[in-house]
Structures are given as C-alpha cells and as structure tokens.
C-alpha cells in the first residue's frame, strides 16, 4: 500500500504508535492511589495510645531495658541496623539486620542478623545471612561492597531485604538489591534469593542507596525511601507493590544536599520526610506530600540541630517518634523526641550522651508487643538497643482508644 502524502504517512505512523501504546498499556497493572496503613499492630492491640493528644498529654515512654546485640564471632565493626517487627504468631518478636565486617566498606562486610526470642526475650547469636559473593552469583555480576540493609515483611509473612550493593566505586556507586527470604531449611533457616536490582537510574543504575525504614501502605505495598548521592544528594520515594516489585518513583526534593529520608504519615495521604542535610545548615530538613506521594515539596526545616546524621521515625499510635543526634557536630549524643504533628517535637528522652568523639548513630525503631525498641550503632563496633514501655500518667485511662 502506498501513501503518497507525507501527512498521511505521519497519520498512519501516529495510529500505529497509538495502537502500540494502547496494547502496551493494557499489559500494565493499574496504579491505585497510595494510602499509608494507619493502624499498627500495637495500636490495634491497645498497647499504645491511639491519639496524639492523648499520648502527649497522658503518659511517657519509660526505658525498661538496654544492652547490645550479640556480634558475630571475631567481627570488629558494625553499622546501620534495621529493625523488623514480626507478627504475634511468630516465635521471634523482632529481627535486626546490620552490616558487619572488618570495617565499613571492607571486602568482607556481610549482612548480619539476630532475632529476639519472644518467649525468653533474649537475642539469638548473630549470624551472617547475606554476602556479596552469593548475591553476585545469583545476580550474574560482581558486587564490590555491601552496606545498609532495610527490612520489610510482606502480607504472606515473607521477609524482604533491600541492601545497598556497590559497583565500581564507593557508596556513590551504590545500587539497591532486592532480596527475598526463601523457604527455610533446617541447615539454613534464613536463606535469601536475590530478586532484582531496582532500576532507578539511567547512569548504569548507580548511586541510589537505602537506609531508612519503609512506610507500609494500605494495599499491602510500601513506600521505600531512597536517595541519590553522587555529587548531588536528593531523596526519592519508591513505591513497591505487595510483592516488592517497583511500581513508581518520585523525587522528594531537588535541592541537592538532602539524604536518608525517614517517612512519617500524618494521615493516609499526607506524609513527611525528615532528612539529614549534607550542607552547612546543620538541621533536620523536611519534605512534604499531601497527596500520597504525587507531589513532594520542600517544607520548613525542623527546629532541631543535626550533624548530617541519619534519623529514624516511627508512628506509634497517634504520636510520631523521632530518634536523632541533637547537635550541629558530633554524633556522641542521641535523643528521642515525640510529636503530635511531626513539626513540633517535645517530651525528649536522652538515649546516649557520651564524651566528644564517641559515636551513637544510625538509629532504627520498631514497636513490638506494645514495647518500643530502638537500635543504633555504638562506636561502629556493635549495635546497641534500648527498650521502652508506655507509662500512662496517674488518672489517665489506659487501653484501646486512649491512655
């Protein structure tokens, strides 16, 4: 068939392209609006107050224990822990993952794991569960170093890990590898399969990292906070489905010096990202979305000092919790604060206050059986933990729906 006119040929080509688009679109799953999961298991069980006002007026978090998580035998360095609360039916209440080896970025760094036994309340001996050689063999290409792990539990009770794995270079050459727990075997109760490298960047898919906990969504998926860090540093929100497959990505800020966003859901659609700032501001920076992640905009900095160090957030019932290093330089001081709206923070609890030069950093939080657990790096040598229980003030009611 001949088409003598250029206009006609252009129309035919457009029609073919449109058909291709439609055929392709029919293969894509529809993307429903993202809504944060609102009720945590602890809140559902009535273990923590369900409204912010009740929480802030009617009680406080009291430390009920602290210690260190066992390190793998003979391993001198540890950093960047991630906590994962398990369902009440599981014999373990909590899992903690971190990277351990001779030093940060050493060739022998692996992901270590320990489990908190629900019955005895003790931590299991640490074991190395992910190494770069096995991960590389599964993916079919080499991995130079591994780093920050982030853990997530899907609706089927399967644990997923998102681990930073570097290519040619340091952390700025990081990629995010998605690993999924495989069926446990007696000789290997915690085994993992490398599912994929999340495709996030055109430039050889480099320089995206993860560090902070995901925000669970009502549809069973999650928002995984990530950040780019080659020369310019900026945060992105990755939306993953209930199986952990990438569904969408959105930049949170393009200012170029913010990283490691920690997410807080003020309601199902309005979320905050609290971030460390690699610039001179020495503050905790904030980005906000009011529509479940469609548009993010920079918001006013928090009036809290921070020495370019990672922060952790958690929404426990109606209140938001933040663990951070509260000074402009040095990581020797670690503090927890609570807030009703994510903007004004008060009711602080001092977690650590060591002499200058000490380091308590990279906190993580989880709520298990009504108790709040905080883990953090201690001197880059081990992972410390603290446990808190909610103490209602005298005269204030406790139980489901309010203190």
């Amino acid at each position: 068939m001949r088409f003598p006119s250029r206009l006609l040929r252009a129309a035919v080509a457009l029609a073919i392209a449109a058909l291709l688009c439609l055929a392709d679109a029919s293969r894509h799953a529809p993307l429903v609006p993202a809504r944060a999961a609102q009720v945590s298991p602890a809140q559902a069980a009535g273990a923590v107050p369900s409204s912010a006002q009740a929480a802030l007026a009617g009680g406080h978090w009291e430390r009920t224990g602290q210690g260190h998580i066992p390190m793998p035998q003979g391993v001198p360095a540890a950093h960047a822990s991630a906590l994962l609360a398990l369902p009440a039916t599981h014999p373990s209440a909590l899992l903690v993952f971190w990277f351990a080896g001779d030093r940060e970025s050493a060739p022998n760094v692996q992901i270590a794991m320990s489990a908190l036994d629900r019955a005895s309340g003790s931590w299991s001996p640490a074991r190395m569960v992910v190494d770069r050689w096995e991960m590389g063999a599964q993916l079919g290409f080499g991995i130079r170093r591994i780093g920050n792990p982030v853990a997530w539990l899907d609706g089927q009770g399967q644990v997923h890990l998102f681990v930073v794995a570097t290519g040619l270079g340091g952390w700025a050459a990081g990629r995010v590898v998605h690993l999924r727990q495989t069926t446990p075997r007696p000789e290997m109760p915690w085994a993992w399969e490398a599912v994929a490298v999340l495709p996030l960047s055109w430039l050889w898919n480099t320089s995206y990292l993860v560090r902070t906990a995901p925000l669970p969504l009502a549809d069973g998926g999650l928002v995984l906070p990530a950040y780019f860090e080659l020369a310019r540093k900026y945060p992105v929100a990755l939306r993953l489905d209930a199986q952990g497959a990438l569904r969408a990505m959105a930049p949170m800020s393009t200012q170029g010096q913010m990283l490691q966003p920690a997410l807080l859901a003020r309601d199902q659609r309005e979320w905050l990202a609290l971030m460390r700032d690699s610039g001179p501001a020495g503050r905790i920076r904030v980005a906000r979305t009011r529509d479940g992640g469609v548009q993010w905009s920079d918001a006013e900095d928090l009036p809290l000092d921070n020495p370019n160090a990672s922060v952790a957030t958690l929404t426990a019932g109606g209140q938001h919790l933040l663990v951070y290093n509260p000074q402009k330089s040095g990581r020797n001081h670690l503090r927890m604060a609570s807030s009703a709206d994510g903007s004004l923070w008060s009711n602080t609890v001092e977690l650590e206050n060591g002499p200058p030069g000490r380091e308590y950093s990279y906190p993580a939080m989880a709520l298990v059986d009504g108790q709040l657990w905080v883990s953090y790096t201690d001197q880059r040598q081990s992972i410390a933990w603290q446990r808190f229980g909610w103490v209602a003030q005298a005269g204030a009611a406790t139980g489901k729906g309010g203190p």
């Binding site: 080509a13 073919i16 291709l20 590389g136 290519g167 040619l168 529509d291």
Partner: protein, 237 residues
C-alpha cells in the same frame, strides 16, 4: 511516573505501573550482550590498523573476547563489566550484531545497496545516521541532567510508561514518513531500532525502562565520538 494519580491529563500517563523483565534470563542477556559488544569493538579497532598481521587476527581476537565475556561467574568478563556498567542497551547489542554481520558474515546474497555503495545512497544514509546520532546525544544529555535532578520532572521514570514506546516507534518510523519508501526502514538506524523496540516490547530487557533499552551511557559517549569523526571527515573533504 509519580506515586499515584494526579490531575486528569497527568493520570492518562501516570496510572500504569511499570512492566519489569523476568529476572531469570537477565544474566544470559548480560553475557551475550557484552560478548557481542566486545567482539564488535575488537573487530572495529582491528580494522583501523594497517598491519596485515593484526588485521588477519581480528576474527580470532573478537571470538576470544566473546568467549571470555560469555563465561559465567567471576572468570567471565561480563561479570566484571556488569559490576561497573550492568547490561549494555539492546540498541548497543543490536548495533554490534549489525556490525558483526556486515564485517564478519557478509553473505553475498544479502548484499544491500549500502554494500554496493553508490555515492548518492551513502550520502543520504549517512545524513540520516547523523541526525539520529544528534537525537541520541540530545536525549542522553537530558537523561544525564535528570540523573542529577536538574530537571523538574523524572525523565527516567517516563521510560517505564507505554507512551515512551509509541514515541520511540515514531522516531524509528521517521525515515518512512519523510521519504515514503518502506525500504528506508531497512537501513540504519531504523533496521536496528525497530527490532530493538519489538524485543523490548516482548521482554522488557534489560530493566523494564525503555531508555535503558535504546541508549546506554557508553552508546551516548560513542555517539559523540561518531559525530566527531564525521565532522573531522567532512572538514577533511
């Protein structure tokens, strides 16, 4: 591709989740891709030398590189190239395959007008290639700006969307739109771009993102080199 729906017209292009490739065959694609790209590079380099001995060793050298790249695991080149550069784009693989076909296999029964090389045809063909190279370079610079968050929207994320397929298909069909000759689609770069699009549409290799399939950073660098050589040649003549 942002997280959820937006205004109506944005929803039309944002309400689909990306299709990602099945991970099982990706290591094979990586090995085969690097094997072909390396073999083509070696052949192209050797062809530029005048020494008869080296030129005669082009094929064995290219074959050796391809075999080395195909070995799975840490003894294979693709394992280490993958560490640094992941997987070559389908376009780079297609161009390598096309080059190897012409320079190694070159079956007489498939000789085209380009092989016969009448001057006017060659001029037309090169002019078209130059325009496509320029378009690739422009796209590459936009993607690079996007990588460093200098664009107000995520261009990379648009590579997951069905509309990107249609857009690149229009680009591939342009020689036919412009000339009215279907045979124009059988010449570079459409003869590579169209199969690349078809393969991407079926497999979603290598990442599910169309930009990763049609233009990788090394190809982007190579296009600069190609245009520079063309410019110098033109200056020379």
């Amino acid at each position: 591709m942002s997280l959820v729906d937006g205004p109506d017209w944005i929803r039309l292009v944002q309400d689909a989740a990306p299709l990602l490739p099945q991970p099982y065959l990706l290591p094979l694609l990586r090995q085969a891709g690097w094997a072909l790209v390396l073999a083509a590079l070696v052949m192209a380099l050797v062809q530029r030398f005048n020494g008869r001995w080296l030129r005669s060793k082009g094929r064995p050298l290219a074959l050796a590189c391809a075999v080395w790249a195909s070995i799975p695991g840490p003894w294979g080149l693709s394992y280490w190239l993958g560490l640094a550069f992941q997987t070559p784009s389908l376009m780079a693989i297609g161009l390598a395959l096309s080059y190897l076909w012409r320079s190694v296999v070159r079956p007489r029964w498939l000789q085209t007008a380009q092989d016969l090389d009448p001057a006017s045809f060659r001029q037309r063909s090169l002019a078209r290639q130059d325009r496509y190279a320029l378009a690739g370079i422009a796209m590459g610079w936009l993607l690079l700006l996007d990588v460093f968050a200098y664009l107000p929207w995520s261009l990379y994320a648009w590579g997951f969307h069905p509309l990107a397929n249609g857009l690149v298909l229009l680009v591939a069909l342009w020689p036919w739109i412009a000339s009215g000759r279907v045979s124009a689609l059988m010449q570079a770069p459409s003869k590579v771009l169209l199969p690349v699009l078809a393969l991407f549409w079926v497999s979603r290799w290598p990442t599910g993102n169309l930009w990763d399939a049609v233009l990788d950073p090394w190809l982007f660098v190579g296009l600069h080199g190609y245009l520079l050589l063309r410019y110098r040649k033109r200056q020379g003549t």
